[in-house]
Symmetry: C2
Subunit: 177 residues, 2 copies
Amino acid sequence: MSTRPTVTLYIAISLDGFIIRPKGQLEWLSKDNKTDEDYGYNAFFSRMDGLIMGRNTFDDVLSLGVWPYSGKTAYVLTDQDDINADGVIPFTGTGEELMAQIGQQHQQLWLVGGSETVKGFLNHGLVDEVILSLLPVTKGEGNPLFLPTGRQQPWKLAGMRTFGSGLVQLHYHKEAA
Amino acid sequence: MSTRPTVTLYIAISLDGFIIRPKGQLEWLSKDNKTDEDYGYNAFFSRMDGLIMGRNTFDDVLSLGVWPYSGKTAYVLTDQDDINADGVIPFTGTGEELMAQIGQQHQQLWLVGGSETVKGFLNHGLVDEVILSLLPVTKGEGNPLFLPTGRQQPWKLAGMRTFGSGLVQLHYHKEAA
């Protein structure tokens, strides 16, 4: 049995690998017209009991004006311990140190992003599951989800779904390297 | 009707977006054991009547010791006009200039890679079709397929296939921007 919670990287990217930021996600979902299609988000969200994100992602989400993660503890990796918000726990160390501190307090953690935070987790083999939503667009610019880590890691394809909008959702589990 | 040939970007990348180079492809295919599975390659290859690649990709393929594209004209974008090989046409201009020169000599061109060549084609809206083979591995380093172009482009999902090895093949057609 694992002595730490499962970490799931669940994120939307463009076909050319750039992170779709929260505002871009809302724009794309509304452009799509199918406002009743949640792409499995609610089922995923209720499966998670905590969130991890970097400071830039946190600030990005805050800029939406509504905190969409109420009811779940959110850990924010940040250099500046200046966050004071309900249910949000700032952490001024590495992802590895955060995971050690969290210990058994959570079972299922959602790794929200962004690039630097994901890099740190991948680099230490701390991502157990990847759910990528691939939007049918090449953005041509932005923050690439995957930065070089120097670490190779095989994954097992656990499933995939396509949607009428052209979104492809790919689901992977970590394999023994 | 189009006044130029259709250009298809057909390429294998890792889950983290790095190009799987020819040697890496062979290694992966042999590791997979299913040597009778060609992932649709032969059907695709016979549909093409010409190839375009950059100089680094050309040198990479040459290093295999066997030229795998016999019978199809291969255009190589290169700064140094020092290539003298059967069926290989060096071209010392941009992708846009090459397409203008090719004109109606071809119907279906395979854009083989690499990053810089693909960037030039995407940047000028010269890619009509994308077939991405996504290997179930994060490589952690290499040449990213998609460099920033500054150009946003929507795509229409035309199909997808999964294989027992975990390879996912995604097929897109260009959409009006």
